[in-house]
């Protein structure tokens, strides 16, 4: 072998030894299974999917908040829990009207404020604005959140991975607050139809839409203050669109029920009905009995010997008695006025020309002086609310 050939052999062995040293030195690095697309996969697992999990939990909270507020408002007549209608409450149930005034709930504003409050507590990190509902959706504008993850330095990639996601949401509640508009229309129709009826509950029961029920939603209370002559009633209304709310369990939903109270105070003073008269020899007079009228400031009791007045009822007293002749020898009429504040509590010992309140009825003692036993007389009663006098509905005969 010449010198030149020996050099070539040594060079080859030298290269082999060098490569062996290289592979031994870099063995770990060469044989480690580096994940292809490690940066992207790390980003996907530790940023994107993490954000998706956060958004999923938040969506569940947002849905629960929407459903809870919807139910709370329905059971509180459209107000937030603990909030009271400007028209007042009956048995902790908000009134939607009072006399001539309406206090329909400002549903969207109430929902926004209550839902915002709950979101702040349940998702403290979230800073939501423009919280509102449209149709069946509960929406809010959220801020952009950031997930910051660290990729291990051995990967030779930039260590910091940042993912920004939007926390704004629109959650389908399966329920629309538009229902309150429909309920408002139904309430107005009911009030208009029944408020001026003496027996307003009979009218209400006949006129109630099918999804309405008289009484509270817990089934305990029905009409309130009926004995005091007040004309207010509680109602439990089922969702007219048969909306149901999720209970938090798959396949289980509960019906939406609205609890509200209505005031059926008449728009004008109602006539006095069911007047009865009995003679009381001991008192030397007649006891005139009629139901107390909640709005009346006083009562006017008319009696006359001009019997043709009967044909003019029902009508205004002034018109009816204008038919009585001016000549007292032909006919006369008299009246007595009883003010509300002059009405005495019920008593067995009654005095003439005094009125008593007994079991919701007014009992007035009419003195018979000047009346002849053998002559027929007619008696009628009207109520007076300070501004106007009710019509005179009917006459009853004074009988000994």
């Amino acid at each position: 072998m010449n010198k030149q050939g020996a050099i070539i052999h040594w060079i080859i062995f030298g290269v082999l030894i060098a490569m062996a040293i290289f592979f031994v030195g870099t063995y770990k690095e060469t044989t480690t299974n580096h994940i292809k697309g490690e940066w992207a996969l790390h980003f996907l697992m530790d940023n994107y999917l993490e954000a998706e999990k956060v958004l999923l939990v938040q969506e569940s909270v947002e849905r629960n908040v929407g459903l809870e507020v919807a139910e709370e408002m329905a059971l509180n007549g459209g107000w937030r829990s603990g909030e009271v209608s400007a028209c007042g409450v009956v048995e902790n149930t908000n009134l939607w009207n009072m006399r001539e005034g309406w206090c329909l709930p400002e549903v969207r504003g109430n929902f926004t404020s209550r839902a915002s409050e709950k979101l702040k507590v349940r998702i403290p990190r979230g800073n939501f604005s423009e919280v509102y509902t449209t149709g069946k959706y509960f929406r809010a504008q959220g801020e952009k959140e950031e997930i910051n993850s660290l990729l291990l330095k051995e990967a030779h990639f930039p260590a910091d991975q940042r993912y920004f996601y939007d926390t704004s949401f629109a959650v389908d509640l399966g329920y629309s607050f538009e229902e309150y508009t429909q309920l408002g229309s139904e309430v107005k129709l009911l009030i208009e139809k029944c408020r001026d009826m003496q027996e307003f509950m009979t009218c209400v029961e006949k006129s109630l839409p099918i999804h309405w029920r008289v009484g509270s939603c817990d089934g305990k209370t029905e009409i309130k203050n009926k004995e005091a002559g007040e004309r207010r009633a509680l109602f439990c209304v089922q969702s007219p669109n048969l909306y149901t709310l999720s209970t938090g369990r798959v396949g289980e939903r509960k019906k939406v029920k609205y609890s509200l109270a209505l005031d059926f105070s008449p728009s004008k003073i109602l006539p006095v009905e069911k007047v009865s008269v009995s003679h009381d020899a001991g008192l030397n007079g007649f006891i005139v009995t009629f139901p107390s009228n909640f709005l009346a400031e006083g009562y006017k009791i008319y009696y006359t010997d001009w019997l043709s007045v009967v044909g003019y009822t029902p009508g205004k007293a002034i018109d009816i008695f204008s038919t009585v002749p001016k000549d007292p020898t032909l006919g006369f009429y008299e009246s007595a006025f009883v003010k509300k504040e002059e009405i005495l509590p019920c008593s067995d010992a009654k005095e003439a020309m005094k009125a008593y309140l007994c079991n919701g009825n007014i009992m007035y003692v009419l003195q018979e002086g000047g009346l002849h036993k053998d002559k027929p007389y007619m008696l009628g009663v009207t109520a007076f609310d300070g501004k106007e006098e009710s019509i005179l509905e009917e006459f009853v005969e004074l009988k000994y």
């Binding site: 082999l16 044989t31 580096h34 994940i35 292809k36 999917l49 999923l56 798959v250 396949g251």
Partner: protein
């Protein structure tokens, strides 16, 4: 003359030796690099499959949410992490089982460690539900 011939033979052997060694060397280098690349690809595919499993797990829970389930009280990360693939489908909760047998046997052992919870099949709806003994159902 003889010496010149011998020198030529030496050069020929040197050449053949160099070619052989170079070929072995390249095979070796190629093998090492190939193994490394194949291992990396395999690891990547595993990670992608895992990401898909987790993503499907999240979507399965989202379906449960739309069906009325309350996810506020549960640990979503735990549910997602324990999702398992069954016949190409990812099963995260009982509702993801499609057959009565899979449901009643809880074949991917979703609630293996939880004695109070199991999967029950409802014939009326042909669906699998999670039964919580403590909540009396649902």
């Amino acid at each position: 003359m003889m010496q010149g011939r011998r020198g030529m033979m030496d050069d020929l052997f040197d050449f053949l030796f160099t070619v052989t060694m170079a070929a072995f060397l390249l095979y070796f280098v190629g093998f090492v690099l190939n193994q490394s690349a194949a291992g990396g690809a395999h690891a990547s595919l595993d990670t992608v499959a895992d990401a898909k499993r987790l993503d499907s797990g999240i979507n399965n829970l989202r379906v449960q949410l739309y069906n009325g389930e309350n996810l506020e009280q549960i640990n979503v990360s735990t549910f997602v992490a324990r999702s398992k693939v069954l016949g190409g489908r990812v099963v995260t909760v009982c509702g993801d089982y499609l057959t009565k047998t899979d449901c009643e046997k809880d074949v991917v052992a979703l609630y293996e460690a939880d004695d109070s919870t199991s999967c029950v099949w409802k014939e009326s709806s042909k669906s699998c539900y999670t039964f919580h003994a403590s909540r009396g159902g649902g």
